[in-house]
């Protein structure tokens, strides 16, 4: 595949992520922050996000699996996940967190359990797609091309 094609593939893929609501404008902000001094900024931040989120999700599952659920703690974790996902533009994850928080407030165990599942699902989905996106990006770079910016 030549550079042009790689670029097109990349752009299309990215566009689809936006269309599906997996990413929002905040992600564009991240991309705009990237510059020569920080050429891997987006990848770095997103990697951090992955690490952090997985920890949070594990914690959430653990907390919800206890005999007596500490909803405050659950809420704190969800809040954090909401914050980080919104910061990188992982829209669907963020939305899942919003719903999750409502159930936390109500102390609805069922609802919370469902939500944590939902959050995990969304998270892994966006994670997978982002990883693909970065791979595509990398291919362009390797091929000597320039990564097209988001319009």
């Amino acid at each position: 595949m030549d550079v042009g094609q790689l670029q097109t593939r990349f752009v299309d893929y990215r566009k689809s992520m936006f269309c599906e609501g997996l990413l929002d404008s905040q992600f564009i902000q991240l991309q705009q922050l990237q510059d020569e001094s920080n050429p891997d900024f987006v990848v770095e931040v997103v990697s951090l996000f992955f690490e952090d989120s997985e920890k949070l999700l594990n914690e959430l599952s653990k907390t919800l699996g206890q005999q007596t659920i500490d909803f405050k703690k659950v809420d704190a974790h969800v809040h954090q996940l909401k914050g980080s996902s919104s910061s990188i533009g992982a829209q669907r994850v963020k939305n899942a967190c919003i719903a999750f928080r409502n159930y936390c407030e109500e102390e609805n165990i069922e609802g919370c359990l469902r939500c944590v599942q939902q959050a995990k699902q969304e998270y892994f989905l966006v994670k997978g797609k982002l990883e693909t996106l970065f791979r595509l990006e990398q291919q362009i770079v390797v091929a000597g091309g320039v990564i097209p910016m988001v319009e």
């Binding site: 931040v45 914050g83 910061s87």
Partner: protein
């Protein structure tokens, strides 16, 4: 000071740059580039993003993920940062707690942020003193303008400095407001920050005003000051905004900031020797001038029994006094305070024997510039005597901006004591102009002693009031702006220096740090008792004199123009200008209520008597300060005096004279 063209006032001369935002870089023409930001967030993703964004804004960023680390970083480098951005929800320490600590210890602007945009949380941020609240995800655009908070705070600090005259907050060491002129915007909101400072400074209210501010100041020579006063008088209290004053003065090289800060001081130090205005920073101090000693005491308006809600008073005080004096001295026993003399002019301007009184009073009350800061009861007493001559005390109720705090008695006239009388009278007029009898509170006594210039009527003013319940009840809440802004604070307590010694000198002036002002003993007029709501300050100051205290106060409000609140109510507040000026004359002498209410309006330097009475809202002041001074001027001294005198005999009359309707000194700069 000499204005010598180009002398920048306070901050101005600042090397530009508002002080190099960069640490030590000297000129920072590139400001806001180089702004030193400390960002705290336990979320590593957010932290990284923020850091990058801030770097892109050309700021110098330090990040940390724990509040404790942040605090220790801040403590180690007191001046190492310009602004702090912190997340609300953090595991080791609540973001609000960090916010408070930073605000108290380092007095840096703090921006809160969170993914939580609930109204309650945001409100919490506001109440804890955050200068802004960002919702995550934070966009770079939001970060681009954070420098404004730094500048704004500095500006306020600067003002506070001036007002309080005492830079005592050692630890706060506010950064020199060099950049004051940088942003020039008087944010009223900011004064809250200042208020914080003021609270801290309250203790020090008495402080010697001599503490010099760090900034170089324009030297206001006598002539310049005269010009200034003339301009202020010409404009009218409520219209005397720095800009216009500047235009009228037409002095080359003088900047608006110069005028603004001077206006503040003016109020505070009206009493001081005219023309001896020291550097602005020193103003406060200087205002306190000779009378400083006594003023110090004045700073606590405590004497003022202003009805103002304690809270408001406190606010006023805070505002007025700028950082410093927020003591709630407003509680000055107004009774004593009666003398709200806010005149600073220690000099016997009036040429009457009162001078001494004035000076005594003035000391206490010196509400410079009419800041009706707390007049100390003693002062009031003195004023009482001198109140007579006060006449001129124009107590201007400074209602900044709209506060009726006007107690500020502005003695706009500098040097002429007699003027003060006139002023008082004038203020009297003002009252009427205010539309309402500001003194209706009964404080009519509040002679708005305009501190402004040398009103020194201090002595004169207070006399009468001294006894009367000099309690000026400034119902701070009112925001009635006194048209003339001079509210005769004499209200309740007869702020006037009525003979009753209790007069508030102390009380009245109580907070005014340096209260130069002295709140002219307003006679608060019959209402003294209840005046509370009298908001005198047409403008900001809502001096409500509460005459409650003494029944006789009322009558006796000799009202020696006791409430000289002018000063600075407005100044006290935000713009700092007023600070000094807020002469919160609110002294509700003996007014209990007033006392509490009027928090030491005397903010800083000048005890605004009004503090108690005037709830000078800090906010209001900023511009109100001018008003205050203006009020004073307006008050015809004669009028006031007469009123006051009249008051003496009749409590009720005061009210009518002043017509306070419950103006409250809102702005008593505390």
């Amino acid at each position: 000071m000499n204005l010598g063209g180009g002398e920048t006032v306070k901050s101005m001369s600042m090397p530009n740059s508002s002080v190099s935002w960069k640490s030590g870089d000297g000129v920072t023409d590139q400001f806001p580039a180089g702004l030193r930001v400390l960002v705290v967030d336990d979320d590593p993703t957010c932290l990284m993003i923020l850091e990058k964004m801030l770097r892109n804004c050309l700021y110098e960023v330090t990040k940390c993920n724990r509040a404790e680390i942040a605090l220790s970083l801040l403590r180690e480098n007191k001046n190492g940062f310009d602004i702090v951005i912190s997340d609300v929800h953090m595991p080791d320490m609540d973001g609000f707690k960090l916010l408070e600590c930073v605000g108290l210890e380092m007095d840096l602007p703090v921006i809160m942020m969170s993914a939580d945009d609930g109204k309650n949380v945001v409100m919490k941020g506001v109440t804890h003193g955050a200068c802004d609240y960002l919702i995550k995800p934070v966009r770079i655009e939001a970060l681009k303008n954070i420098w404004q908070h730094v500048v704004r705070r500095k500006k306020h600090e600067w003002k506070d400095f001036e007002q309080t005259g005492s830079v005592e907050d050692g630890e706060r060491q506010q950064k020199p407001p060099e950049d004051a002129d940088y942003s020039s915007s008087a944010n009223e909101g900011n004064w809250r920050n200042s208020k914080k400072r003021k609270d801290e400074e309250e203790e020090a209210e008495e402080r010697d005003d001599t503490s010099t501010l760090k900034k170089p100041r324009v030297v206001w020579s006598v002539e310049l000051h005269q010009q200034f006063v003339a301009a202020v008088n010409q404009l009218g209290i409520d219209k005397a905004v720095p800009k216009k004053i500047l235009e009228l003065m037409n002095v080359p090289g003088l900047t608006r900031e110069n005028v603004a800060s001077h206006l503040q001081k003016y109020r505070l130090y009206l009493r001081r020797i005219s023309g001896v205005s020291q550097h602005q920073s020193g103003f406060n101090n200087s205002f306190m001038g000779p009378s400083d000693a006594t003023f110090g005491s004045i700073s606590s308006l405590s004497g003022l029994d202003m009805q103002l809600p304690a809270q408001s008073l406190a606010t006023l005080q805070a505002a007025v006094l700028g950082r410093s004096t927020t003591k709630s001295s407003i509680s000055m026993p107004l009774v004593d305070q009666r003398n709200l003399f806010s005149f600073e002019t220690p000099k016997p301007r009036f040429g009457e024997g009162q001078q001494q009184q004035l000076s005594n009073n003035s000391k206490q009350i010196n509400l410079l510039h009419g800041i009706p800061t707390n007049m100390e009861p003693k002062q009031l007493a003195n004023l009482h005597q001198s109140a007579q001559s006060f006449g001129g005390m124009n107590m201007q109720v400074n209602s900044h901006g709209s506060q009726s705090n006007s107690l500020l008695v502005q003695m706009a006239q500098p040097e002429s004591r007699s003027q003060m009388l006139n002023e008082i009278n004038g203020s009297h007029r003002i009252q009427s102009s205010m539309g309402q009898p500001i003194m209706s509170n009964g404080c009519a006594s509040g002679v708005l002693a305009r501190n402004g210039m040398a009103n020194n009527a201090r002595g004169t003013l207070y006399n009468p009031l001294s006894q009367a319940s000099s309690v000026l009840d400034f119902s701070v809440n009112h925001g009635t702006d006194l048209p003339g802004s001079s509210f005769p604070i004499g209200g309740n307590a007869g702020i006037s220096s009525l003979p009753s010694k209790e007069m508030l000198h102390e009380d009245v002036i109580s907070e005014t740090k340096g209260t130069r002002g002295f709140l002219p003993s307003y006679d608060v007029l019959s209402e003294l008792h209840q005046q509370k709501s009298q908001v005198w300050g047409s403008q900001n100051v809502g001096l409500t004199y509460e005459t409650s205290h003494h029944a006789n106060m009322r009558g006796s409000c000799d009202v020696s123009p006791s409430v000289i609140v002018q000063q600075g109510f407005s100044s006290i507040q935000n713009n700092g200008q007023n600070r000094s000026a807020m002469g919160k004359a609110v002294f509700s002498s003996g007014q209990e209520s007033a006392h509490g209410n009027v928090p030491n309006i005397s903010q800083q330097p000048n005890t605004f008597l009004l503090d108690n009475l005037l709830m000078v809202k800090a906010e209001r002041f900023p511009d109100a300060s001018y008003h205050n001074t203006i009020f004073a001027e307006q008050l015809g001294q004669e009028d006031l005096m007469s009123v006051f005198l009249k008051q003496q005999g009749d409590t009720g009359s005061v009210e009518s004279e002043f017509g306070f309707d419950g103006h409250h000194l809102d702005n008593l700069p505390v």
